[in-house]
């Protein structure tokens, strides 16, 4: 392959990634030359501009056909576009949330945060737009490494240190496990291109090793649950969420989680769609009960343990575990609605969770605490914080006229849509949702039913904007979910996801 061939690829489709990469580099250089005392807020604006630029680039690509560069190591299809929008949007909101962070001891690391955030975003975006095991892995690690560092950015804060260390150890083990599983997936097929893997999976030779395949699947899957904070690799989340700075927690719980689902979808669906199961059924059908069990366990652990939390960030960590469990449900059901359901739920989740974290941030900065009691009497002190917070909590709990409800409704559609319908999974989800009412409404009760002498809360303008945007979106998507669904259906053809344009025509075994 010579330079001409390399240059013949349509590199322009990578524009969003290039923009992010460029801005990240620029930021690091600027940061290097900026005076230590000067505020890093301009960096935030620059980073934000970069994200918006990348978003714009993606919107301009909406009509672009499926494009593949270098044997799907980069791939632009509807799936990647749809989910990259989520990632970018999430990062943008986290940026605004962080830019207004007035906590002094973080100030000194402000600059690094921005370009680390962008680097993490870059990794996530690469995960969204690749169909090659190696790229996926490197993207995943880029995201992970940046996250480890971000979690530990508050160097003087013991909790931040500890959370970062826990994160890096858990993450390291998870990476090893994932890779161990992937190594078998790779080994049994000898390919790294997902489509080729899928093709090779149909090889009758592999029928003999269906057990190993199943093991590989389960190990890889379990390893990847680390990113989405689902069982069995969920336990890091509460500690890390608690210790990390709030913007990082928001990032972890939204963008990083979204990226986790992206890689799960990409890797699992494409790779195993044609794989044989142990009893010669489809492997994906055969693993359903196990994934279901994991989803159920995740929902139960997350919701039940959240009941006992007094620390709001920790509570949201468990909540986020539970939410991961919910999103795993359509994944289990293999419904044809899979992509839009997950996409929609993640979109809803993005708004409600970032919105909630914005308020947590405001309050925890003011009160110097993360205890639930910081919400005491919020309705009296600042109704304009209490009301949106209520919407976010209701949405998380899945109560109508919020986006969270429509998302959950969709998940149920997925779970009950195919024959045989997964009634018990739906029942577990509903039962745990009920349990979740208790702790979500507990926060609401604290805001509305308790009184407090504390003073009013002042909200920085940028955060207020994030808040308003998230609240409006949460409600709007709850009332008119078609806004998002039509956008999805109108611009994304999910068949592209399965379209192997590269491998069939041009792949040559050049070794």
């Amino acid at each position: 392959m010579d330079l001409d061939t390399l240059l013949s690829f349509k590199w322009s489709v990578m524009a969003p990634e290039f923009i992010i990469l460029g801005v990240a580099t620029l930021l690091s250089v600027i940061d290097l030359f900026m005076k230590k005392e000067s505020s890093r807020t301009p960096l935030a604006w620059l980073a934000g501009a970069g994200v918006i630029g990348a978003l714009a680039a993606i919107f301009m690509q909406l009509d672009t056909e499926v494009t593949s560069i270098l044997f799907d190591t980069y791939r632009l299809d509807s799936f990647s576009k749809a989910f990259k929008i989520l990632l970018l949007l999430g990062t943008l909101l986290v940026l605004v949330l962080a830019s207004n962070d007035k906590k002094e001891d973080v100030e000194e690391n402000r600059g690094e945060f921005y370009y680390l955030l962008l680097a993490a975003l870059l990794g996530a975006m690469m995960m969204a737009s690749s169909a090659d095991l190696i790229t996926l892995f490197v993207g995943l690690e880029l995201l992970s490494l940046s996250s480890y560092i971000m979690a530990g950015l508050e160097r003087q804060n013991k909790r931040s240190n500890e959370s970062a260390f826990k994160y890096v150890v858990s993450g390291g083990i998870a990476t090893a496990i994932t890779l161990f599983g992937m190594s078998y997936v790779f080994g049994l097929t000898g390919e790294t291109n997902l489509f080729l893997i899928a093709q090779t999976m149909q090889d009758p030779e592999l029928l003999k090793h269906s057990f190993l395949l199943m093991f590989a699947f389960l190990i890889t899957f379990a390893g990847l649950t680390f990113k989405i904070a689902a069982a069995p690799l969920h336990m890091w989340a509460p500690d890390v969420y608690e210790g990390a700075p709030v913007p990082v927690t928001a990032f972890l719980s939204v963008v990083s989680k979204t990226a986790g689902f992206v890689i799960l979808l990409r890797f699992i669906i494409i790779t195993f769609i044609a794989a044989p199961g142990i009893d010669s059924e489809s492997l994906l059908l055969e693993v359903q009960p196990y994934v279901m069990a994991l989803a159920a366990a995740t929902m139960i652990i997350g919701n039940v343990t959240a009941l006992r939390q007094r620390n709001i960030k920790r509570m949201f960590a468990y909540s986020s575990i539970a939410q991961a469990g919910y999103i795993l449900v359509p994944f289990v059901s293999n419904s044809s609605l899979l992509f839009e359901l997950i996409w929609f739920y993640l979109l809803a989740y993005l708004f409600m969770n970032i919105g909630a974290f914005t308020i947590i941030q405001v309050l925890s900065v003011q009160e110097k605490s993360n205890d639930i009691s910081i919400f005491r009497g919020l309705f009296k002190r600042s109704p304009w914080l209490a009301v949106p917070m209520t919407f976010f909590l209701l949405s998380l709990a899945g109560i109508p006229i919020t986006a969270g409800f429509v998302g959950k409704f969709g998940i149920f559609m997925g779970a009950l849509g195919l024959e045989p319908a997964h009634y018990w999974l739906a029942a577990v989800m509903m039962a745990t949702t009920l349990v979740s009412y208790v702790y979500y409404f507990n926060v609401i009760a604290v805001m509305f039913f308790r009184d407090s002498e504390r003073t009013r809360v002042s909200v920085p303008r940028g955060m207020a904007a994030v808040l308003a945007f998230c609240a409006v979106s949460t409600i709007l998507l709850g009332i008119m979910p078609d806004l998002a669904l039509d956008f999805f259906y109108g611009n994304f053809d999910i068949n592209e996801f399965f379209m192997n344009i590269e491998a069939v025509d041009t792949h040559t075994h050049d070794h």
């Binding site: 419904s335 009634y423 509903m430």
Partner: protein
């Protein structure tokens, strides 16, 4: 105008919310009056709707239908879409319930004058609650029904938890979790039905399920599936109704919530359960419903007797009334179990009648509580002396509650039992024991408050003029239905006939 009429009605309480937003929260007086005005407005529109409603005409009227949400699914068969529409309409049954909602809301708003704090947020939530209730009865598909159903949940949670009595928060959670269980089951059932049939519209669903089994098999709808769905629905609505043994939340709410809210709750919200059983249970799965009739009847009788027995020895008048509600909801079940014209009519009449009666009684309890600061029976005595009007209305309400002829309670009890006697005479005969017990506990409660030696109370003024309005309006309505039931009956008949046609009775 007519095309939008119903939507205007449903969302008309929002106008109140909007107006209240601009009133300073310290301006108690204007907020309270706006609170009443804000409910009068929907009442006015409800009356317009009533006038536009053709009695005994087509089954569904004033319908509206817009495309709302559309999921597109690619299956092997090709593209199948799962559209969700915004579709509303009224038939006789929902018209009656909408009217009841509008009326009771106004009266409850008046009764809310006794609220001591945070009037603004109180009334905003109150309006949202009213919107939810109106929507529940106007909804013509499962999705919309569920949404409005849940919308009623949230304001109620706040209203109980913030403005209730001492153990209000526990009551609020109790309310939330129990009703959450109900709505959780509902959601699963609704989605399951949706995914099997591709529609959420009540009528289309009813039509689909009435298809011959051979066609249904192609949709993977077995008899077992239908039965399972029906049972789940019944359980879900049993929570709301509530049916023994799922009633304890309701008692708690009735005791702890502010009186005006209990008026709404007992008067209307409980009725959603009955409405649901009628529309979904009997309306969509008539065959299965019939085969479950005995169980439903049994639970009806158990409810009736259990509530009555427990009401006998309660020392708190609110608890007496709460258990009395349990008991009276048993009559709804009894009527439904009968599944014949009289039974159905009785059930629906009981829905309306109990709505009015319990609203009246709780209103009076609220007035008494405000004066005495207690709701213990032992705290009262000889109220008739200083407050003859209150005592008189209270007695009248009690008599209505125990089914005195000439009042609405009689018609419903009579019809329900009449129906059940045709189908299950022995069960019905056992049930009539409840009529005696009802008399015992109602008189015990009413008499120990109004009769006997007078006891000291901090305040002993009779009903003020603003308090008389709700009391007399409700009493008049109770008497009107009791004396001239034909009006209500004519309105309900087409709807009930349609359901009865399915039940084959």
């Amino acid at each position: 105008m007519n095309a939008w009429l119903l939507s205007i009605l449903i969302f008309s309480p929002l106008l109140g919310v909007l107006v209240l937003m601009f009133v300073p929260s310290s301006d108690e007086k204007s907020i309270k009056w706006l609170g009443v005005l804000g409910t009068l407005f929907p009442l006015g529109i409800a009356l317009v709707v009533l006038s536009a409603f053709k009695m005994g005409g087509d089954e569904l009227q004033l319908t509206e239908k817009f495309s709302w949400i559309s999921y597109e699914v690619f299956q092997s068969k090709g593209q199948v879409s799962y559209p969700i529409f915004y579709e509303i309409g009224v038939n006789g049954l929902s018209m009656v319930l909408i009217l009841l909602t509008a009326v009771v809301s106004v009266l409850a708003a008046i009764a809310s004058f006794s609220i001591k704090q945070n009037w603004k947020s109180y009334f905003i939530l109150f309006f949202l609650l009213e919107m939810g209730m109106l929507g529940v009865f106007a909804a013509q598909n499962l999705f919309l029904f569920f949404i409005f159903f849940e919308i009623t949940l949230i304001p109620m949670f706040f209203l109980i938890g913030r403005w209730g009595y001492l153990e209000r928060e526990k009551a609020a959670y109790s309310f939330l979790i129990y009703n959450g269980v109900g709505s959780a089951i509902l959601l699963i059932v609704f989605v399951a039905l949706f995914m099997k049939t591709g529609t959420m519209n009540f009528q289309e669903l009813a039509y689909t399920f009435s298809l011959p089994q051979a066609e249904l098999n192609q949709l993977f709808i077995t008899k077992g599936f239908k039965m399972g769905m029906l049972i789940a629905l019944l359980v879900a609505f049993a929570v709301k109704l509530p049916v023994f043994p799922l009633h304890s939340w309701m008692v708690r709410v009735h005791v702890q919530a502010p009186p005006a809210i209990v008026m709404i709750h007992s008067g209307i919200l409980l009725k959603i359960g009955a409405y649901g059983v009628i529309v979904f249970g009997a309306g969509m799965f008539p065959d299965q419903f019939k085969s479950l009739a005995f169980v439903i009847g049994l639970f009806g009788v158990i409810n009736l007797l259990y509530g009555a027995f427990l009401a006998l020895t309660q020392t708190d008048v609110k608890r007496v009334l709460a258990y009395s509600s349990v008991s009276h909801m048993g009559i709804v079940l009894i009527g439904l179990a009968a599944g014949n014209t009289s039974g159905m009519t009785g059930a629906v009449f009981q829905v309306v009648s109990h709505g009015l009666i319990s609203a009246l009684l709780f209103f009076l309890i609220g007035a008494l509580y405000e004066r005495s600061g207690s709701s213990e029976l032992s705290a009262f005595g000889g109220v008739a002396k200083r407050m003859p009007i209150l005592a008189g209305v209270f007695l009248a309400g009690g008599l209505a509650s125990l089914g005195l002829p000439g009042m609405s309670g009689f018609i419903s009890e009579f019809m329900a039992f009449l129906g059940l006697f045709e189908k299950m005479p022995v069960l019905a005969a056992v049930g009539t024991l409840g009529l005696i017990l009802t008399a015992v506990y109602v008189l015990r409660a009413v008499l120990s408050i109004t009769f006997g030696a007078e006891k000291e109370m901090p305040e002993s003024r009779d009903l003020s003029s603003s308090e008389r309005v709700p009391a007399f309006v409700l009493l008049a309505a109770i008497l009107f239905i009791g004396i001239y039931p034909a009006w209500l009956n004519d309105m309900l008949r087409p709807t009930l006939d349609a359901i009865l046609l399915g039940l084959g009775g």
